[in-house]
């Protein structure tokens, strides 16, 4: 796996930096990564962008001990499937916690991190990871931000 041209990384920046997905206004289902068509409503669906809250629960997890070279700085790493509070499931590393602290259904929140460096000195890719939910300040947090400008 090696994409040496930068556009392949830039192209998905909005989704990877801000958890930008999509929502079908007809049935209310939300999608990440964003879809162009609602699989349920098809032609009757109306797709609009949505920025997810970044909060969710651990649906499943694994501790990966054998990984491709670009992830060697992070190995062993905990990779989790997180079900976002809005519904969709996403996959990324779980950080800022020890493997034995992780449980299915634990609350997590998104954080912005470096994903990998392609070869030494190559393209550095950033995106979302997850960490245990810090509840000390969440009372100040606005509930899911809806409709954002699609031209971000």
């Amino acid at each position: 796996m090696s994409l040496s041209a930068a556009p392949a990384h830039w192209r998905r920046m909005r989704e990877r930096y801000r958890l930008l997905g999509s929502k079908c206004e007809t049935c209310g289902n939300t999608f990440f990564p964003p879809t162009k068509v609602c699989p349920k409503c098809r032609r009757r669906g109306k797709i609009t962008p949505i920025e997810f809250s970044g909060r969710g629960k651990v649906f499943s997890y694994t501790i990966i001990h054998a990984a491709p070279k670009m992830f060697e700085d992070y190995t062993p790493s905990t990779v989790a499937i997180v079900q976002l509070n809005e519904g969709p499931k996403v996959l990324s590393q779980l950080v800022d916690c020890e493997p034995d602290e992780i449980k299915i259904d634990m609350d997590v929140e998104v954080c912005f991190r470096k994903l990998f460096e392609q070869d030494r000195g190559g393209i550095i890719s950033y995106g979302f990871k997850f960490r245990p939910l810090d509840t000390s300040w969440t009372k100040y947090y606005d509930e899911p931000r809806q409709a954002v400008d699609s031209q971000i």
Binding site: P33, T62, I63, I64, F71, L91, L115
Partner: protein
């Protein structure tokens, strides 16, 4: 006009799986092809169409255009040749396409091959190539590996159905036992539950013995119309159905992460086309790329209720001699997993079982009906094939 007709396998042959330092992709295809042609008592000139399953010649050996390459190397020019890619289900998909070609009435003698040469790159690079079978942008890009995806399924499965980790070990122990009796297997050593539970971790909860190996290998099956099959062999094996199905490429979008709907859909259609009941199946080859995948397969194929597969393993029912012998060649775990060849290799094993030609200790006595199940990626493709002796 062409008319749909029944199809039979007139011969089937495979190389030993393993690390073949002295053989390249062409050599492996040649070895399996020549054996199959000789066994059928035909010459290369009789073959009208060639279908080859191959996942990633381009990334493993720097070679694309595998259809023409194999046709050329086997001296089959100028017949049409097709390379089929469906990740680890490339072989099964190639078989279903070869079946279609004969069933449609368009071609009589069709050779279906599968070949993969995986050890010309470092194991780490091979792992990277295999990760191309998942959703690259949203799974691999964020650090998922193939064992990682199946480990995520395993964690969830063990949690949802309250199954113990030991159940996965039982799958590996059984497959290594069957592999120990199969001269073509990659691994011929027996292991214990203790070995499986204490082996080095790959992607927890999966450890070394939960994962199929990186193997080189090839397999070939030759198909003919059933009505003329007895010209070539006394025991033609009838293809009762060969059905592929698809699901979401990404594991994240599945209806249920612990069920492979592609398997469920392919199996339901295959059983209905074949007019066969689950209880009539004597021997099963399932896609155990990881031990968890074998448990899911047995459930999704409909051999037991969801979450109940581990009981069959604790009771030893999946060994030769049990009520449902599974992976009598050692499966992908012990017999090997040359990805593009695996689906055809499963067919070769079933043909051997249904003809009563398997080695001592691993022949299912009186086997009449066999089922093969080949999966691509984390379940985005499944191919279910049902064969019978009569």
């Amino acid at each position: 006009m062409f008319k749909k007709r029944d199809v039979a396998i007139i011969s089937a042959s495979a190389t030993k799986c393993g690390e073949h330092w002295d053989k390249g992709l062409k050599d492996l295809a040649w070895e399996a092809g020549v054996k199959a042609v000789e066994e059928a008592g035909i010459s290369g000139k009789d073959i009208e169409y060639l279908v080859v399953g191959n996942m990633s010649g381009g990334m493993f050996v720097g070679q694309e255009h595998i259809g023409a390459l194999v046709a050329d190397f086997l001296g089959l020019n100028p017949i049409p040749s097709l390379r089929v890619e469906a990740a680890c289900a490339s072989g099964g998909m190639a078989f279903s396409q070869g079946y279609l070609a004969v069933a449609s009435g368009l071609y009589d003698i069709v050779a279906v091959g599968g070949v993969e040469k995986m050890t010309d790159v470092e194991p780490e690079q091979a792992t990277s190539v295999l990760s191309g079978a998942m959703d690259f942008e949203w799974e691999a890009y964020f650090g998922a590996t193939f064992p990682g995806l199946y480990a995520l399924i395993a964690t969830r499965y063990l949690h949802e159905y309250k199954v113990k980790r030991e159940a996965l070990a039982e799958v590996a122990v059984k497959n290594h036992y069957h592999g120990s009796l199969n001269p073509l297997a990659h691994f011929r050593n027996k292991i214990t539950v203790e070995d499986a539970l204490t082996a080095p971790p790959v992607a927890e909860p999966l450890r070394k013995y939960d994962c199929s190996p990186i193997s080189d290998g090839a397999a070939v099956a030759i198909l003919a119309p059933l009505e003329t099959a007895r010209k070539y062999t006394d025991t033609p094996i009838i293809v009762r159905a060969s059905v592929p199905a698809s699901d979401t490429l990404s594991l994240l979008k599945r209806r249920d992460m612990c069920t492979m709907d592609a398997t469920v859909n392919a199996a339901n259609k295959a059983f209905s086309l074949a007019h066969i009941e689950r209880k009539d199946v004597d021997v099963v080859e399932v896609h155990d790329c990881f031990t968890i995948a074998e448990l899911l397969a047995i459930e999704d194929l409909g051999f037991c209720e969801k979450g109940e597969a581990s009981k069959l393993y604790y009771e030893g029912q999946t060994y030769v001699g049990g009520t449902l012998p599974v992976n009598t060649d050692g499966g992908l775990k012990a017999a090997g997993h040359p990805v593009g060849a695996t689906g055809v290799k499963q067919i070769v094993e079933l043909v051997k079982q249904l003809r009563g030609e398997a080695e001592k200790g691993r022949q299912v006595s009186g086997a009449e009906i066999g089922l093969a199940h080949n999966v691509g990626g984390s379940g985005a493709t499944a191919v279910v094939t049902i064969l019978s002796r009569s």
